[in-house]
């Protein structure tokens, strides 16, 4: 375990496996090199980390694996910039740096005994996937579990093998969709935007928590649908994906008004989000 008081010092991790989720979205499974870190590294669903590619710098992603799955962590990213493109060039066996875990988390214990509806768009499934597996691994603690997940096109759906697994399980209901024009001839899901498909699916809001993550435009149109379905703002959770650098409340980048997403978030209720300065 890193004994230094240098908060910017990462732990080293080895890439154990690589999964290409879409042509430009990749999952890395990482195992800490230090035995003590491997044993002691603990996180909660919703927390994020700073992942570094040596020679390029750090990028912020959620920890996409579930805290109930021990021995490794996973991150999932789209190659869009210098750091993510360099992370993409790494191979199994290569080393990355990991700082974290940072931020707050989904209060999963408070969801015990309730139904859950997960709503995600595009590459925003990873921040909810950690919660989904966390809850599926504790399946008897929850009532109905519904996942509404959509992307622009079939090719943009991430975790395809897991979507299949969820589709086949009888203790979780998956509603998969793609935007109009995004479906191939064999697509077995719905065609439509996530908020519309959510409204058609109409999960009950009775004793139910909604967890939403997606691009700002999806969130904007999803919140009114949830409201119409009877969800109160306290029963809707989301996680904000602001640009960050330090992850520890210093560099001045991720704030929404006086809320520091890295320290006060990234998990917020819809009530908290609505109270923020509207600058997303």
């Amino acid at each position: 375990m890193c004994q230094s008081n240098n908060i910017y010092l990462p732990n080293l991790a080895t890439i154990e496996a690589i999964v290409d989720e879409t042509p430009d979205v990749r999952t890395l499974r990482l195992v800490f090199q230090d035995e003590e870190v491997r044993e002691k590294f603990a996180f909660r669903a919703g927390q994020f980390a700073e992942y570094s590619s040596f020679g390029f710098g750090e990028s912020t992603f959620c920890i996409a694996s579930a805290p109930t799955r021990k021995g490794y962590i996973e991150c999932c990213f789209r190659s869009v910039g210098r750091v993510t493109e360099s992370l993409r060039r790494l191979e199994v066996g290569d080393t990355v740096g990991v700082r974290g875990p940072y931020g707050n988390s989904f209060p999963i214990e408070q969801f015990y005994g309730k139904s859950l509806v997960f709503i995600a768009g595009g590459i925003a499934l990873p921040p909810l996937r950690t919660v989904i597996w966390n809850c599926l691994d504790l399946r008897d603690k929850f009532k109905d579990i519904t996942i509404v997940y959509g992307a622009r096109s079939e090719a943009d759906l991430v975790y395809k093998h897991e979507l299949k697994e969820w589709q086949e399980r009888d203790d979780v209901r998956l509603v998969k969709c793609v935007d109009p024009g995004g479906a191939g001839p064999d697509f077995d899901g719905k065609v439509g935007f996530v908020p519309t498909v959510l409204e058609e699916t109409a999960p009950s809001s009775e004793n139910t928590i909604a967890l939403v993550c997606g691009p700002p435009i999806m969130i904007k149109f999803t919140l009114p649908v949830l409201e119409r379905l009877g969800f109160s703002d306290d029963n809707i959770y989301t996680t904000l994906e602001n640009r960050m650098k330090c992850g520890v409340g210093k560099c001045g980048r991720c704030n929404v008004g006086n809320v520091y997403v890295c320290k006060d978030g990234p998990v917020f209720t819809a009530r908290e989000v609505k109270a923020m300065s509207q600058e997303f």
């Binding site: 908060i7 040596f54 020679g55 997303f280």
Partner: protein
């Protein structure tokens, strides 16, 4: 009252240099006064406000936070040896500079501690000086400081009309500095203090300003004042209180350093998401963040205003944006 003559102040610098301390003070560098390491007391220049603030003594423009090297196939990360940071005396900083660390301490030490900043703070003594050189861009009174505010100084000097300085050891560090060089200080009544320069902007009601900011996140004012902002970042870089930074690697994939370096919320890509979405997509939103951060958000979080009224941003702005004028406008608002 303890008095130090101008000559003894310069002698003090010589002694501190001899003690192998890093002594930093305003010094003429070419035609510009800057905070620079002093090698002799004669170099101290107290007749102008240094162009850049003394913030960089604690929070450098750019600093290594780790190094990495691949050795025999395995990556090795090495911490920076902060015990090698030198014992430092900042001397001759007016209240608008001497006061900045006491503002920044809060963000650098809440929860996660930035030991790069904090170690430099622990190893530094600040000898502040009452400011008699203000110009029409100064507005320290407006933000609750004053030309003779001792806040942030360990030892505070007040220039007297006979050329000597009245000394007040504000903290234990200041007392230790005096005690270690007792023979340079003398007890005395002291001459009259040199008068301060009048400031154009007088004290503003920061509570009222904060309340207005709270209620006017959306306001035509932002577009009016900030659409001329060219986003050059000069205001942030010369500010004693701005503390935004970026982290990047310098070197190859096998051998290099990771660095923390200054950044500015005025830059277009500062908040740009990987998706291309930008929460602060136009310049006035970025400028609004600058004002909000200084006069509302920082106060919300840490109970302090993130501005010392040094006026550097006013002097440096290439398009003439005047933060004091903006504050006065808000202060005068009735709604």
């Amino acid at each position: 009252m303890q008095i130090i003559t101008e000559q003894n102040l310069r002698n003090l610098i010589d002694l501190l240099v001899k003690e192998a301390k890093l002594v930093v003070g305003p010094k003429l560098s070419g035609s510009v006064v800057l905070y620079e390491p002093l090698t002799a007391g004669t170099e101290l220049t107290l007749d102008a406000l240094p162009r850049r603030s003394s913030k960089e003594l604690f929070f450098p423009v750019c600093e290594d936070i780790l190094s990495y090297k691949r050795e025999g196939g395995a990556m090795k990360v090495t911490d920076v040896d902060r015990s090698k940071f030198p014992e430092t005396v900042l001397i001759g900083a007016p209240p608008c500079d001497a006061g900045s660390p006491s503002i920044l301490d809060a963000v650098m030490s809440w929860d996660y501690k930035d030991e790069f900043y904090l170690e430099r703070r622990r190893k530094s003594t600040i000898v502040g000086i009452a400011c008699t050189k203000g110009d029409d861009a100064c507005f320290c009174r407006a933000v609750g400081l004053s030309p003779d505010a001792e806040n942030g100084s360990d030892l505070f000097l007040t220039p007297l009309k006979d050329g000597s300085y009245a000394c007040n050891a504000v903290t234990e560090k200041g007392q230790a500095l005096v005690a270690a060089h007792k023979n340079l200080f003398a007890e005395g009544a002291g001459a009259e203090p040199v008068p301060f320069v009048d400031q154009a902007v007088q004290k503003l009601d920061l509570v009222k300003i904060k309340k207005w900011l709270e209620e006017h996140f959306e306001d035509p004012l932002w577009e009016r004042i900030a659409d001329i902002c060219v986003g050059c970042g000069a205001c942030a870089f010369i500010c004693p209180a701005c503390h935004c930074f970026d982290i990047n690697d310098e070197g190859s994939t096998d051998d290099g350093v990771r660095r923390k370096h200054w950044d500015a919320c005025g830059f277009a890509k500062f908040t740009n998401h990987a998706s291309g979405h930008n929460p602060r997509d136009v310049q006035n939103k970025r400028y609004r963040n600058r004002i909000m951060h200084k006069f509302k958000y920082y106060d919300d979080k840490f109970g302090k205003t993130l501005c010392t009224g040094c006026g550097r941003c006013i002097r440096a702005c290439p398009v003439g944006i005047d933060i004091a004028e903006i504050l006065e406008t808000i202060n005068a608002k009735q709604d």
